[in-house]
């Protein structure tokens, strides 16, 4: 049995001082209902994807489901750091395939700006293994910086190539009204930005944002009756890797991403060359270059070539992150996975407006949680 996506919604990402997290969640949920033509009574259950430590409100699904009018149906949270709503989608599809529910809603919602700077800095200090790593002051950018340094050493990747990823994704973000930043940047500006964790600079890092996105999925026959253009989940890979980076053999590749994409390609019976678009997890510019390699768009060590040659621009041979990626769109961690799925669906329906990739028939999303502790790779088709 196939599972189809029949409704999508995407809120505005950015600093949302105007809304609570449940109000943020309402925006894409309502939009997804309208998009599908369903009413909320048709939805069997909700799964909420979010990273709970950012919220003042404890136990987020309680308040979100109440605000969406989705009581008394089942609801709960999935947590996989930055991949929490991809985990939620994985869950929802499993329920549908098991025949427990016919239609489910996945809501990724995150409010990151209600914490004070000291609270954010305290959280930042506990992103790695707290027993053996955080005691030396590791940070989220610091981990990807260690990956970047190693990738540079092993393959000759340069800071300029990383900066080019930022320039591209900002150029793409210009055409996404839901993006946090709709402003182009120059290579000079990216390269000249202040150091955060060497070799990564401010413009190598995505922005913390508030935001929410929603995806409604349905069992095959229901999907066909609900929608004229259901989008099918052809492959869904999911994998994990050690919390501690000390236990990773190589520091130039995210092992969970390699494994999850292998699963997704096998299920979908397609190869990387068949893709028309990939939305990848560019929490840092180096992460996009590593993603090119991990999902097979480039050979290992040759990811930087794709950006050097401009192949991953919207009009290039293999467009990547045409919605601006995490870099320009902003990264409300729990909403990012659902946001990628929304973009995949828009592109496959041909509804992406100025950022439409011509002839997009096969799209991949690559959503990494943490520093690759979790990874979900999905392949979608019309």
């Amino acid at each position: 049995m196939k599972v189809g996506i029949v409704g999508i919604g995407h809120g505005k990402f950015g600093r949302r001082d105007d809304a609570t997290v449940q109000e943020l969640a309402f925006e894409p949920f309502k939009e997804a209902l309208d998009d599908s033509g369903l009413s909320k009574e048709d939805i069997g259950a909700t799964v909420i994807g979010s990273s709970p430590e950012y919220h003042k409100q404890r136990s987020l699904p309680g308040v979100v489901a109440e605000y969406l009018g989705m009581n008394p149906q089942m609801t709960y949270l999935t947590e996989a750091a930055c991949a929490s709503s991809s985990a939620a989608l994985h869950n929802a599809v499993a329920y549908i395939k098991a025949g427990i529910y016919d239609i489910m809603a996945v809501v990724g919602a995150q409010k990151m700006t209600e914490l004070t700077t000291p609270e954010i800095l305290a959280l930042m200090g506990r992103v790695g293994d707290v027993q053996w790593e955080s005691v030396f002051g590791t940070t989220f950018p610091g981990y990807y910086a260690m990956y970047a340094r190693r990738h540079m050493h092993d393959f000759g990747t340069t800071e300029e190539q990383m900066a080019k990823v930022a320039v591209k994704n900002h150029a793409h973000g210009l055409h996404n009204p839901n993006a946090m930043f709709q402003k182009e940047i120059t290579l000079e500006k990216a390269l000249g930005s202040r150091p955060v964790a060497s070799p990564l600079k401010l413009y190598d890092c995505c922005g913390n944002a508030d935001g929410a996105a929603c995806v409604i999925v349905a069992e095959e026959s229901k999907a066909k009756s609900i929608s004229d253009t259901p989008i099918w989940l052809k492959g869904m890979g999911a994998a994990s890797a050690s919390m501690s980076v000390l236990r990773r053999k190589e520091l130039n590749s995210i092992p969970s991403a390699v494994e999850a994409s292998k699963q997704a390609y096998e299920q979908a019976k397609v190869e990387p060359k068949d893709l028309h678009l990939a939305e990848v997890h560019d929490c840092f510019t180096i992460a996009e270059i590593i993603a090119y390699e991990d999902i097979g768009l480039a050979k290992k060590g040759e990811g930087s070539k794709l950006i050097d040659e401009g192949q991953t621009y919207r009009d290039g041979k293999m467009p990547v992150n045409v919605d601006g990626g995490l870099k320009a769109k902003g990264h409300p961690v729990g909403a990012t996975g659902a946001s990628m799925t929304v973009e995949a669906v828009k592109q496959l329906r041909g509804e992406a407006g100025k950022r439409q990739v011509d002839g997009a028939e096969l799209v991949l999303t690559h959503n990494v949680g943490g520093i690759g502790q979790y990874c979900f790779v999905n392949i979608y088709s019309r």
Binding site: L121, G125, V130, S134, M146, R150, A197, L246, R247
Partner: protein
């Protein structure tokens, strides 16, 4: 008074607490699984290879090579007063990896693959860090 590892610590209750006694004697210690022989560093109380919990302590080498490194300019809570600091990942001779702070050298002086030694250096407040020296 037992030493604590790192500038800030988060975990005190652990089955590997004896590690701190070794640190106090100036030693890096790992655990070796008595059942399958797997070496664990950082130490583990339970072997994830064969699932045995029968492990013994063993001394680790203090020399190794740099695997990767970064200089942190925006530090988390408790580290604001020491930025910028350079974190090195070191692979010890004979196995095991750790993170530590580059000491008595600058980021410009180091590279991936370089030989270094790990020195236990005490900080204020009965704390000890791994100082990475050329």
């Amino acid at each position: 008074m037992t030493l604590e590892l790192g500038k800030v610590s988060f975990v005190t209750a652990t089955k590997t607490k004896e590690y701190l006694d070794y640190l106090e004697k100036g030693k890096l210690a790992g655990t070796k699984c008595k059942s399958c022989g797997a070496l664990h560093f950082p130490p583990r109380a339970d072997c994830d290879q064969c699932m045995s919990s029968d492990v013994e302590w063993m001394d680790m080498e203090s020399k190794g090579k740099i695997v990767t490194y970064t200089t942190i300019h925006v530090g988390p809570t408790g580290f604001e007063d020491v930025v910028p600091y350079t974190i090195c990942m070191v692979e010890l001779e004979g196995g095991g990896r750790l993170l530590g702070w580059l000491d008595e050298a600058k980021e410009e002086d180091i590279s991936v693959g370089q030989d270094v030694s790990v020195v236990l250096k005490e900080l204020e407040g009965d704390r000890v860090i791994y100082a990475i020296r050329l």
